[in-house]
C-alpha cells in the first residue's frame, strides 16, 4: 500500500461518529477519503466551512467555496459557512473534537514542530498553533523519516508549534502514543519490525511486550 494511504487509513479509524474534525493541507486531507459518509462526521476547513464535501465535478466549481489550501470543494447537507473569528473561536475554544496535522518533528515529550525551518522555509504557522492549542485531540500524520533522517526526535530542534503534548503520531512505520513517560510504540505498520522502527527513530521509544500490527 502507498505509505500516505496507509497513514490516512489508520488515522481515519480514530475518527468517531459525529465528530467535528479539521484536516491539515496535504497528507492529512487524504484522511477524509477513508471516513464513510454514514459516520456523520463534519469536517471543518478553517477558512470558513463546517461540512466540507468532495471536489465538485469539472466545470461545477464555485469560486466562493474552497478549502484551506485554496482547492475547490463542495458542502454536505447540514453545512454552515462561517467567518474567521467564528472558525478560530471553534478551534481555540475547545469545540473542535480533532485535528490532523502534518509534522516536521515530534519529540519524546510529544511536542510538535511543523511551521518553520529557520533560514530555509518560513511559510508561517497559519492555523497550526491555534489548532494544536485548542483541539480536543491532536493527531500528527507524517512520514517517519525524510531523506533518511528521522522526524521522531529526542528534542525538537525546529521551532515548536505549541507546548502541548499531541495525542497520537501516525507514520508509515508506526503508531506512537506520546505519554508523560515518553513515546509508546503502540502499533507497527504491516510487515515492519520493532527493530526497524527503533532504527528509524532518533527518539527513545517505550516498547510494550506486544506491539500489534496496524489493521488497515
Amino acid at each position: 500500500m502507498d505509505p500516505k494511504e496507509l497513514i490516512a487509513r489508520r488515522v481515519a479509524q480514530d475518527i468517531k461518529p459525529g465528530m467535528l474534525v479539521n484536516l491539515g493541507i496535504g497528507l492529512p486531507s487524504m484522511v477524509a477519503n477513508f471516513v464513510p459518509a454514514e459516520r456523520g462526521v463534519f469536517f471543518q476547513a478553517e477558512n470558513g466551512v463546517i461540512g466540507l464535501g468532495a471536489r465538485p465535478p469539472e466545470g461545477m466549481e464555485d469560486k466562493h467555496l474552497t478549502d484551506a489550501g485554496g482547492g475547490f470543494v463542495t458542502a454536505v447537507p447540514g453545512a454552515a459557512s462561517i467567518d474567521s473569528a467564528m472558525s478560530f473561536g471553534l478551534i481555540r475554544g475547545g469545540h473542535l473534537d480533532m485535528t490532523v496535522l502534518g509534522g516536521l518533528e515530534v519529540d519524546e515529550q510529544g511536542r510538535l514542530a511543523n511551521w518553520k525551518v529557520p533560514g530555509k522555509m518560513v511559510p508561517g504557522m497559519g492555523g497550526a498553533m491555534d489548532l494544536v492549542t485548542g483541539a480536543a485531540c491532536v493527531i500528527v500524520a507524517m512520514q517517519h523519516c525524510v531523506k533518511g533522517a528521522s522526524k521522531i526526535v529526542r528534542d525538537c530542534t525546529l521551532p515548536l508549534t505549541a507546548l502541548r503534548r499531541v495525542d497520537l503520531v501516525v507514520t508509515d512505520l508506526a503508531v506512537l502514543r506520546p505519554t508523560e513517560a515518553g513515546l509508546v510504540l503502540q502499533e507497527r505498520a504491516p510487515g515492519v519490525t520493532v527493530a526497524q522502527i527503533l532504527a528509524a527513530s532518533a527518539a527513545r521509544l517505550i516498547v510494550p511486550d506486544r506491539v500489534p500490527e496496524m489493521v488497515v
Binding site: 470558513g48 466562493h64 478560530f88 511559510p123 521551532p159
Partner: protein, 217 residues
C-alpha cells in the same frame, strides 16, 4: 455610505505608505479589481495586513509581484514563493501571526478592546517580547489590537446603503476587517436595491462602509 467609486478613483484615495487590511483567504474573498487598480496606479510602500499573500498573479500576490508592498502582517505566506524571497532579501518586512490571533487582534482593534489574551503561541517564538498574564490559574499571551488606514473588502451583495453579505468561504476575514479600517471600501459581486438583502442577512451594516466599488462589467 458616501457612494460608489471606479476602481481607479478608489485607488487614488489610497496614498503610498498606507496600511491596508485586505480580506481574503488564498485569494478567495479578496477585492481583485481594487488590487488591480492599486497595481495600475503604481502604489508603493504599502503595509498589507491579511491572512496570507495568496499566489503570484492572484489577489494580494499581484501587489507583492508589482513591488507595491514593504510590510506584511499575515499568518501564512508559504504558497507565495515571491513573498518568501522578498522577505529573505529584506525587501519586505514580514510579521507572522497565528491565524486565530490575527483575526482576534483585528477584531479587538475594530471593537475598541485593548487587546486579547490567548493561549496560542505560549512557549513558542510567538511569545518572544510579549507579556504573559495569568487569569484564573491559566496563562495567556497579551496580543495587541490592530487597526489600519483602510479596509479593502470583498462582498457578495451590497445594497445602496452599503449593507453587505458574503458568500460561503469568501467571508473569512472580511466582516471583522470592516470594523478596523479608518476608511472602508467594499467591492461587491452584485449591487442590489435596498430591501433585497433582508436585515437578518446583513453581515456588515452599511454604516461601516465608506465606499462601494462600482459594478463590474
Amino acid at each position: 455610505m458616501k457612494g460608489a467609486l471606479s476602481p481607479a478613483a478608489a485607488a487614488a484615495l489610497i496614498p503610498d505608505g498606507s496600511s491596508l487590511l485586505i480580506g481574503g483567504f488564498m485569494g478567495v474573498g479578496t477585492p481583485e479589481r481594487l488590487i488591480d487598480a492599486l497595481v495600475a496606479r503604481g502604489a508603493r510602500g504599502l503595509t498589507v495586513i491579511a491572512n496570507d499573500t495568496a499566489l503570484p498573479g492572484r489577489g494580494i500576490g499581484k501587489l507583492i509581484s508589482a513591488g507595491c508592498v514593504s510590510r506584511v502582517v499575515a499568518s501564512h505566506i508559504g504558497l507565495n514563493p515571491e513573498t518568501q524571497q522578498k522577505m529573505i532579501s529584506g525587501e519586505i518586512a514580514c510579521e507572522l501571526v497565528p491565524q486565530g490571533t490575527l483575526v482576534e487582534r483585528i477584531r479587538a482593534g475594530g471593537v475598541g478592546l485593548g487587546g486579547v489574551l490567548t493561549p496560542t503561541g505560549l512557549g513558542t517564538e510567538v511569545e518572544e517580547g510579549k507579556q504573559v498574564i495569568e487569569v484564573q490559574g491559566r496563562r495567556f499571551l497579551l496580543e495587541t489590537p490592530i487597526t489600519a488606514d483602510f479596509a479593502l473588502l470583498a462582498a457578495f451583495q451590497a445594497d445602496y446603503v452599503g449593507n453587505l453579505n458574503y458568500a460561503l468561504t469568501a467571508q473569512n476575514f472580511n466582516p471583522v476587517m470592516a470594523l478596523a479600517g479608518r476608511m472602508v471600501i467594499a467591492e461587491p459581486d452584485h449591487i442590489v436595491p435596498v430591501g433585497v438583502i433582508p436585515p437578518d442577512a446583513v453581515k456588515t451594516p452599511g454604516v461601516l462602509v465608506d465606499h462601494l466599488l462600482v459594478r463590474g462589467v
